[in-house]
């Protein structure tokens, strides 16, 4: 049991899999000599050499597609797309190729491909560098999506992704990269797509994922101060989603709040709200409440950036209104 940062945990996971299986290769921009923009691949270039830790040109569409072809020919590539934002250039490779080839080939080809991409709102990176892509990828049959919120999950889920024979997208969060947490490299990992109850409570259920799950935990403490006992579920995976863990909780609490960093309109939270309404309708005492980003691109201005993304306080205030049956004011322009 060690304290590691999120990036160190990812680094250990890569190292462990590369050491165990020499068909595992890593490729992306500056993953090698430079050591990775977020240090995740640090040291691997010196250890495994330029062929297995490949620095690429700025050609997201093709080096992601290269990963697809390599996976079909027997390798287990781990493609790093420097940030989610650049994945918009690789969506044909991800959606039309990686996700569909096993299906289109009648199941002849597996797709042991892992695609890592840090994303989300960091510090004033503005509209083109602060995006979320979960809603887009969730709708794609053939992809699996993990969203680790802790160093331990980052370690476990990246290793599981590399070992999986399907295409797994690892959505990291840029602001989590330098956060610390205990990592046990020997403990058995839970199934990659199992949700976990990070805090149990009986007044309402807060469902969240990635960094926002940690924000929800902070909110839960604030709520405790107001005498509201919130249960916090970290989904850990957005495709598939572990509905049962959520259903059990919502049926107990009767209230559901979804906290996400994604834009509210057609974001990941929409599916969570819709599916849990179908499954828990009669247990729900109020409609599921989505606390999400405003439907705006990220502004560069610091104050505005904070305003459009849910803060722990926003989650707490909304949760309070929800359980007390008050109306929640929504910034909603669309």
């Amino acid at each position: 049991m060690e304290n590691l940062t999120y990036w160190q945990a990812l680094n250990r996971a890569l190292d462990a899999e590369m050491a165990a299986d020499d068909t595992v290769i890593v490729l992306g921009e500056d993953v090698g000599l430079f050591g990775g923009t977020y240090r995740v691949t640090e040291g691997l270039y010196a250890r495994y050499g330029a062929q297995r830790v490949r620095d690429t040109p700025i050609s997201e569409g093709s080096f992601t597609g290269l990963g697809v072809g390599a996976a079909m020919a027997g390798l287990r590539p781990v493609v790093e797309i420097m940030t989610v934002n650049f994945a918009l250039l690789a969506l044909d490779a991800i959606i039309n190729m990686a996700a569909k080839i096993p299906f289109m080939s009648g199941g002849q080809y597996a797709m042991p491909l892992t695609i890592r991409m840090p994303g989300g709102t960091a510090h004033q990176l503005a509209a083109q560098h602060s995006q979320r892509l979960e809603h887009t990828l969730m709708n794609v049959a053939g992809l699996r999506i993990v969203v680790p919120a802790t160093p331990q999950d980052a370690y476990w889920q990246l290793r599981q992704a590399i070992r999986a024979d399907d295409c797994v997208i690892v959505l990291e969060h840029e602001l989590l990269n330098f956060e610390q947490g205990p990592v046990d490299e020997l403990a058995d990992a839970p199934p990659p797509h199992r949700a976990i109850v990070r805090r149990s409570g009986h007044d309402l259920t807060i469902v969240s994922y990635s960094r926002m799950a940690n924000q929800a935990l902070i909110a839960a403490e604030q709520l405790a101060g107001m005498g509201i006992d919130a249960e916090v579920i970290d989904l850990r995976s957005l495709s598939p989603i572990d509905w049962q863990t959520c259903v059990d909780s919502v049926n107990r609490t009767g209230f559901l709040l979804i906290a996400e960093e994604d834009c509210r309109f057609a974001g990941a939270g929409a599916e969570i709200a819709a599916s849990l309404t179908e499954r828990c309708f009669h247990a729900l005492q109020a409609p599921p409440l989505r606390v999400a980003a405003l439907d705006l691109p990220n502004p560069y201005n610091k104050t505005l950036e904070q305003q459009i993304i849910p803060q722990p306080e926003d989650i707490a205030v909304a949760a309070q209104a929800l359980v007390r049956g008050q109306r929640i004011p929504q910034e909603d322009r669309a």
């Binding site: 093709s62 027997g74 590539p77 044909d92 080939s105 009648g106 002849q108 999986a164 024979d165």
Partner: protein, 350 residues
């Protein structure tokens, strides 16, 4: 060149031609759905190139890939069954005409999004390079596909890392209805490989022996670890872009533009957009199959009885494949879920 090769070339070109003439009929009779992109006129490329390949080579193709699959060794039965959407088709009935796959023959698929074959090919080549094997990857694409960004990105990486890929451009001068001089600033495709330092040549794609010779030479260099090569095959499609391609209203639009077109260009387009009659093709020296037959008859590679026997045998093979496909069962929804993620059933996901 070995004595039997010419006959094999002719045999495969006729198999290709007759098969697709039959597929066109089956399509109009509703036994084949979706888009059907046929190959008549371009057979010399697939036959020459793939005869020059080794069994260990990987092949990556487009939506116009029936013949690539056939010559690569995929059984005619599995191909026709796939076009009929059957469970025993080479893609289990999930892929159809544009998505033939056969892992056993390293036929890595037909791709229907123009420009996807490049990254898949360099990916397979990357695996070959890591394993240090004397294998090559053959990547097919058309003249229109050259303008997709993946061409640029992938050729740069192939050259940068000296990957064992042979890029095969089937230049039939058309991107559906757009002629090459209207889609590319530089119309000699092989010249565009220069921007990546990739050795490239232009080859007469209507001459099967030339395509075979040139491909063999290029593949030797590729296998020897000398990096990627590109070959541009000048060729020609006799039919519309696809069976769905209605020639009808196009002529109208053309007429209103004819004045702006030079006669040869117009001639070429009308050829590719309508079904040209054999005379016109001979006049232009374009009828690859028949030209080849005549040449071999003259050279005494075969005699008329031999040719008739060959045609009969081919008819037999096609009949058998079509009957097999007709008799085969449809895939089930279970099959579809399994094809989605062959591995899931064995894994506890949640």
């Amino acid at each position: 060149m070995e004595r039997e090769l010419p006959i094999q070339f002719l045999r495969d070109m006729l198999r290709a031609r007759r098969l697709e003439e039959r597929l066109a009929q089956e399509y109009t009779q509703g036994n084949i759905g979706g888009f059907l992109h046929l190959y008549p006129g371009e057979e010399a490329v697939a036959v020459g190139v793939l005869h020059a390949a080794e069994p260990g080579d990987y092949i990556v193709s487009t939506y116009r890939e029936h013949i690539h699959a056939l010559i690569a060794g995929v059984s005619m039965r599995a191909i026709v069954a796939e076009l009929f959407g059957k469970r025993t088709g080479c893609s289990g009935g999930m892929g159809g005409s544009m998505h033939l796959f056969d892992a056993e023959h390293r036929f890595m698929g037909g791709y229907a999004i123009v420009g996807e074959t490049y990254p898949v090919a360099i990916g397979a080549a990357y695996a070959v390079m890591l394993r240090g094997l004397p294998e090559a990857v053959i990547c097919f694409f058309g003249d229109g596909a050259v303008n997709q960004g993946t061409f640029h990105e992938s050729l740069n990486m192939a050259a940068l890392w000296q990957l064992p890929v042979l890029f095969v451009c089937e230049n039939n001068h058309y991107q559906i209805g757009t002629e090459i001089h209207r889609h590319s600033a530089v119309t000699e495709v092989y010249k565009r490989a220069g921007g990546y330092g990739i050795p490239a040549e232009k080859v007469d794609g209507m001459d099967v022996e030339a395509t075979y010779r040139q491909t063999r030479a290029a593949l030797e260099q590729v296998r020897a670890g000398q990096g990627p090569r590109l070959l541009e095959f000048e060729t020609y499609r006799y039919r519309g872009h696809s069976m769905a391609d209605p020639g009808t209203y196009r002529s109208a639009a053309e007429v209103s533009m004819y004045t702006a077109q030079d006669p040869i260009a117009a001639e070429m387009r009308s050829l590719s957009l309508h079904y040209p009659d054999p005379e016109t093709l001979h006049a232009l020296g374009l009828e690859s199959c028949e030209t080849l037959c005549r040449r071999y008859l003259d050279h005494g590679h075969l005699d008329t009885q031999g040719l008739e026997a060959l045609e009969a045998e081919i008819q037999q093979e096609i009949e058998d494949a079509v009957q097999y496909a007709q008799a085969a069962a449809d895939p089930t929804l279970e099959d579809a879920w399994h094809a989605l993620q062959p591995n899931w059933p064995h894994q506890a996901l949640v």
